[in-house]
């Protein structure tokens, strides 16, 4: 591990030409011992962020296959890209770098699950759902802050809430109104949400004026009350005393989608209901104060409108601001993409597949016989099937069999890997990663020009040769029905390794043939 002093020529070139930034950059591979504190910290942080990298680091560097400097040298690009992003984020809010998980686009709808014997109805509330309820229904949030724990316990609160929801789900407005009249607290949940309404009225001032239909209302002289013609649906029965308790699904859908779109506005651990409620209330308060300084927003809005007014293909294209693509978990992303691709392939092949299914064995045999006899009489003047078509069918079939698409399809995220036992999957992926890493180092060491490279290659070779038995082990450890899949997965890895070894052997032979008596490595 003291090879830090030996420098790859490419690294020198970089440090020589690049300016100030470059010199700092090359400092790392130059000397391990003199790594700046900040540099060290960065590496540690990077390792903490990326568990896979950490594993690799542990295996290769601590395991003695690669030196620290070598390890980092090959991932310079991603490494610097990472810190570039990190720095940007760092300047604003150091804690925000964590990717936030959005809200699920699932309506919470009490599906009362009764056990069928008694009249009891059960509701399940999770912290996630509670957060969603608070965000979508400010009145419930306010009621929670007011009532709990001074007036009732949290459990009582949610029982009451669930009761209100149940009443709504029965769609019996009259009963709801009657219940509300008896119980003030229940009434809060049953009535329409005034807070949400007033919030809406405030938000409307910030809306894009090219969408603002409310402004229309103010300009519409034909729709003075009782003017114009009544069209469909304008029948309003607002006089009904029960109107207050009527709630429409459409309204709820809109509110729900708005909340999901807004995303997780607060940075509080879910679980403590009260703190969630308080944090949400606070964030709404912040929105209010923001409004005072909305001159900026106005300007932005105006720019937007004038941009929207332009017809884009009549003029030269304008450069759009590019948002850097940041995929936190590449494997997950690409896996799902692949699964999608396979699925769509399956769909396009669906027609052909159906046709095949409808053929019985006898029919197939019969038609085959006919063909053969036909060929016998007339000979093979022109092929029955066009070669391109045949190839396409063959490819399609092989691919669909090998990717086991028959078992996929329902869930785009499901792939072969997911069906393997967890341990085997992890191990396979890990080996794949480390093979990649090793091969990257291996191939980048050619042509061998220094002794250092020579020793490095031999170290890499040793490490690689150790992988063979491990892969074999995995193959054997899995159940027999997965074995075929696993060997299919392992095959490309083995091929890649074989290629590396073949190159290595060829190189050694060439070397010994050229200068058999010379010691290894020459400068």
């Amino acid at each position: 591990m003291t090879d830090g002093q030996v420098i790859k020529p490419t690294a020198i070139a970089v440090s020589g030409e690049a300016g100030r930034a470059g010199s700092e950059r090359s400092a790392a591979p130059l000397q391990d011992e003199q790594l700046s504190h900040a540099e060290m910290e960065r590496r540690i942080r990077l390792l903490q962020e990326d568990s896979e990298l950490q594993k690799l680091h542990k295996q290769l560097v601590i395991g003695g296959v690669l030196s620290e400097a070598e390890f980092w040298a090959t991932r310079k690009v991603s490494y610097w890209l990472f810190f570039f992003q990190y720095k940007l984020l760092d300047e604003n809010a150091s804690r925000k770098s964590k990717q936030q998980v959005g809200l699920r686009n699932d309506m919470f709808h009490v599906k009362p699950s009764s056990d069928g014997q008694s009249n009891k109805v059960t509701f399940n509330l999770t912290p996630e759902i509670i957060h969603q309820i608070f965000a979508e229904k400010p009145a419930v949030r306010q009621a929670f802050l007011n009532f709990v724990p001074s007036k009732m316990t949290e459990k009582e609160f949610w029982t009451k809430y669930s009761r209100a929801e149940y009443l709504h789900s029965t769609k019996n407005v009259v009963v709801a109104a009657a219940e509300a009249a008896e119980d003030d607290e229940l009434a809060v949940f049953l009535k329409q949400d005034d807070m949400a309404a007033s919030e809406a009225r405030r938000k409307i001032r910030r809306v894009d004026p090219t969408l603002d239909m409310e402004a229309d209302e103010g300009d519409d002289y034909t729709h003075l009350p009782d003017h114009g013609l009544s069209c469909d649906g304008s029948k309003d029965v607002t006089d009904s005393p029960y109107e207050l308790y009527r709630r429409s699904l459409l309204q709820e859908l809109n509110r729900h989608a708005a909340v999901v779109l807004e995303g997780r506005a607060i940075d509080v651990e879910l679980g403590d209901t009260r703190s969630v409620a308080e944090a949400l209330a606070r964030s709404k308060q912040d929105d209010l104060t923001d409004e005072v300084s909305d001159g900026n927003i106005n300007q932005e809005r105006l720019d937007r409108i004038s941009r929207m007014a332009e017809i884009d293909d009549l003029q030269a294209p304008r450069d759009l601001a590019v948002a850097p693509l940041c995929i936190k978990d590449p494997r997950d992303y690409f896996d799902s993409q692949q699964a999608n691709a396979i699925k769509s392939l399956g769909d396009t092949l669906a027609g052909a597949k159906q046709m095949k299914c409808s053929l019985s064995t006898a029919e197939a045999y019969g038609s085959l016989r006919d063909y053969i006899s036909e060929i016998k009489t007339s000979g093979l003047n022109d092929s029955i099937v066009k070669p391109e078509v045949a190839l396409k069918v063959l490819n399609g079939l092989t691919q669909s069999i090998s990717s086991t698409k028959y078992h996929l399809g329902k869930n785009p995220h499901e792939s072969v890997l997911d069906r393997l036992p967890y341990v085997a999957k992890q191990e396979l992926l890990h080996h794949w990663m480390s093979i990649q890493e090793l091969l990257k180092h291996f191939w980048s060491s050619y042509p061998i020009t220094t002794t250092h490279l020579f020793t490095k290659v031999s170290r890499l070779k040793d490490a690689m040769s150790q992988i063979y038995p491990k892969l074999q082990e995995i193959k054997e450890s899995v159940q027999s029905d997965f074995r075929h899949q696993v060997s299919l997965l392992v095959q490309p890895m083995l091929q890649a390794l074989d290629a590396a070894f073949a190159h290595y052997d060829a190189d050694i032979q060439k070397r010994s043939a050229k200068s058999g008596e010379r010691p290894n490595g020459f400068v």
Binding site: L211, D219, T222, D226, G228, L229, S230, D232, L250, D312
Partner: protein, 758 residues
């Protein structure tokens, strides 16, 4: 770019121009030259608005000796904003090339609700309360009192504006409503009154249809516009409906009760004035003897909505003697209200013409036609005399007088329909008396007569020969343009059945079939998983949408849809709908993707664009026929058949298909844009329905796409989206050019241009 159309140099703010824009300008220019009206249909997504604006402004610039004013009418305020944004772009370009000579004053005009900057006034709920709150501060008698008594509040913005007097002008430029408010705040002047004043001097005024078509508003705002004006009605495919709505009134039980309350309040006021200020009432009486002509001299802030009948129809004569005295007038109104109450108690549907109705009023309560005709103006005068500022409280009696004036003025083209209950809910008594106008040409007639050129344009004016008949005018130019596309960037399809081969339709007998609802749901579900960004769905009515969304929710389809995209819905609440739209756009912008559920003939269908990524697919669920059992519609159909020999079925189909075309047409904005349109109803595959669609949609509707099931449609959608993602040559490459540069235009010259195009 800059080019020549005959003797006019046109300044166009882009480097390229579509050939159809050029052709459109040529036709428009000919109409302006001929000082006549014209009717132009050009597909959406070809930049109509900018072509119009740049030709008309350039026309004025080329002929400075005879400047024409442009009155640009939009249907909605947000379209007004969009138009002004385009005009701003154009203005900037013209200033760049011509310098200060190109300066114009252009402004949007709207109600107090949208222009007021006085925080205490504008916070009121609706337009009428804002109007009333403004009057409370700015009426001439209130201001007179405020001078003596500083405790009486007044509006500082209005006072400042009055003080500035003739100095209060808008410098040249293009002003949106927002800009007007900002300018007003800066100067401390009331933007509403400033804008009202500047309208007379502006080169371009952008306002809503009603400011020209509705006589109540037009009488005040558009009274002083010069004859040398070009009036443009943009998106005018519904103009006939706007016209008839402007002259229709309905009276309900609540209206009559409110009117009774109003009347007793007014009679109290009269008593009070008799005791304190009898001279005032006498002065009014004298004024009425001389006729109502003085109304024009009222202080600016006192004006009110003008007479609902048309200006030419109001005789310039004195008010009949028997309603000159305030008490007499009130008793006439009381009798009228009583009569209407009696009529509402009917058990059967009744329908009659204005002449018999007036005769029956005269026979039963002794109010003749002339008294009816003057009701509105007389009421107006009385309310001013009584110094009533909370006009929003008196809306009911205004409605009654509106009704009286209209019924007293017109003898044909109207009918009075009394229904004891709504056809759809026969068990709920809800009597209503409707005065409905059938003749669209009545409201628009003065516009055609007063202004030298009227341009009616839209993306859907098919069949184009119907409009001159409906509106009763003779266009000098009447043209329908096709669209030259660089690639097949629109993909209309007719979906007739679901994947299970069951037919889908919103026809009455099929509409509530669970199979149809499920198939519609499956269609949307398949589409949300295939189409990126925004999808818009149109339903035939609110009630249908409400029902189907609920049933999707119960069957779990909605949940599956939400796995792919956010769902936003148009509701009857405008505020909520606006917010939903705003969020929908945000969701499309950030890549989340969303579906918007909307209603054909609803507010969203009327004027919101779903171009580019805001709408890659529109699904029209069903054929949006009007509610055919409505008596008003039946009466109108009868009138159309008798007067214009238009068959009922033809008109209904025409009307439904123009709505459908309008809904789906909103997906495309330029030739670089692309979008799919699905007409999901088996009836669209019939030739008599389909052929009513505008030509630019029909020409892209392939025979193979006329009878699709859901799985086939999904397949086509996939292929289409893949094709659209490929790079292409924007100018159209070889063959017909679809994008022209300045050189292209110069090369062509004027003569052989149209040969090249069509």
């Amino acid at each position: 770019m800059k080019f020549q159309i005959e003797d006019v140099t046109v300044y166009f703010p882009y480097d390229h121009i579509y050939p159809e824009q050029y052709a459109y300008m040529v036709e428009l220019k000919r109409a302006l030259d001929a000082k006549g009206h014209c009717l132009l249909e050009m597909p959406t997504g070809t930049g109509k608005t900018i072509a119009l604006l740049s030709l008309i402004t350039s026309y004025t610039l080329s002929k400075p000796s005879n400047p024409i004013k442009l009155l640009y009418c939009t249907r909605t305020v947000h379209e007004m904003e969009k138009t002004l944004a385009e005009l701003k772009l154009l203005h900037k370009y013209q200033i760049q090339h011509l310098g200060p000579a190109a300066r114009i004053l252009a402004l949007g005009l709207s109600s107090r609700k949208n222009l007021c900057i006085n925080p205490s006034v504008v916070s009121a709920e609706n337009r009428d309360s804002v109007d009333a709150a403004c009057r409370k501060l700015t009426a001439s008698w209130v201001r007179a009192l405020a001078i003596e008594n500083p405790n009486i509040p007044s509006c500082e913005f209005f006072e400042n504006y009055e003080k500035a007097a003739s100095d209060a002008v808008l410098p040249p430029g293009v002003y949106t409503l927002q800009d007007l408010r900002v300018f007003g705040k800066e100067k401390g002047w009331c933007p509403y009154f400033l804008a009202r004043h500047m309208v007379q001097f502006a080169n371009v005024v952008v306002y809503s249809y009603q400011y020209l078509l509705d006589p109540k508003v037009a009488g005040i705002i558009s009274k002083e516009m010069q004859r040398e004006s070009v009036v443009v009605f943009d998106e005018a495919h519904n103009i006939d409906n706007v016209c008839i709505e402007a002259l229709s009134v309905s009276v309900r039980k609540q209206t009559l009760e409110g009117a009774t309350r109003n009347l007793s309040k007014m009679s109290q006021e009269i008593e009070r004035f008799k005791a304190t200020d009898a001279g005032r009432l006498r002065a009014e009486y004298n004024r009425l003897v001389d006729g109502l002509a003085q109304r024009g001299n009222l202080p600016l802030a006192d004006t009110w909505l003008a007479n609902p009948a048309l200006p030419d129809d109001i005789l310039k004569e004195a008010v009949p003697g028997n309603i000159r005295r305030a008490e007499h007038f009130l008793s006439v109104l009381r009798r009228l209200v009583q009569y209407l109450k009696g009529r509402l108690q009917t058990e059967n549907v009744e329908k009659e013409g204005p002449v018999t109705f007036v005769a029956s009023i005269n026979a039963q309560v002794g109010i003749d036609q002339k008294m009816l005709k003057f009701c509105y103006d007389r009421l107006h005068s009385l309310m001013l005399t009584l110094e009533i500022t909370d006009t929003d409280e008196f809306l009911h009696i205004q409605t009654i007088c509106d009704f009286a004036t209209l019924v007293g003025t017109y003898t044909r083209g109207f009918s009075i329909i009394i229904e004891p209950f709504d056809e759809r809910m026969p068990h709920i008594p809800d009597p209503v008396l409707q005065l409905s106008c059938h003749d669209a040409s009545l409201a628009i007639k003065p516009v055609f007569e007063r202004f030298q050129s009227v341009v009616i344009t839209s993306g859907t004016l098919s069949p184009i020969d119907l409009y001159p008949r409906l509106l009763n005018f003779n266009p000098v130019v009447s043209r329908s343009f096709t669209m030259s596309l660089t690639r097949d960037c629109i993909c209309p399809m007719v979906l007739t059945r679901g994947s299970d081969q069951l037919p889908v339709s919103t026809k009455f007998d099929l509409r509530s079939d669970p199979g149809v609802e499920r198939n519609y749901g499956r269609l949307l579900l398949e589409m949300v998983s295939v189409v990126p960004d925004g999808i818009v769905c149109f339903f035939v009515s609110y009630s249908y949408m409400d029902g189907i969304v609920n049933s999707w929710h119960e069957s779990g389809i909605l949940k599956d849809i939400m796995q792919h995209k956010l769902v936003f819905i148009e509701t009857q609440d405008v505020v909520e709908t606006t917010l939903a739209l705003d969020n929908y756009r945000k969701a499309c912008d950030c890549g989340r993707g969303a579906v918007f559920f909307s209603v054909a003939r609803g507010k969203v269908a009327e004027g919101i664009d779903f171009d580019r990524h805001y709408g890659r697919l529109v699904i029209m669920f069903g054929v949006p026929f009007q509610y055919t059992l409505s008596r008003i519609l039946l009466a109108r159909l009868e009138y159309l058949r008798e007067t214009f020999q238009i068959k009922e079925g033809d008109f209904l189909t025409f009307d439904a298909l123009r709505q459908a075309a309008q809904c789906v047409g909103r997906v495309i904005r330029s030739k670089a844009d692309y979008g799919m349109m699905i007409f999901a109803d088996k009836r669209y595959s019939r030739h008599d329905k389909r052929s009513k669609l505008p030509g630019w949609i029909l020409s892209h509707l392939r025979d193979a796409h006329l009878n699709l099931s859901t799985d086939m449609a999904v397949h086509i959608a996939r292929e289409f989206l893949r094709k659209m993602a490929q790079p292409y040559d924007k100018t159209g490459g070889s063959g017909k050019k679809t994008l022209l540069s300045q050189e292209d235009l110069e090369k062509m010259g004027n003569g052989n241009f149209s040969d090249m195009l069509f």
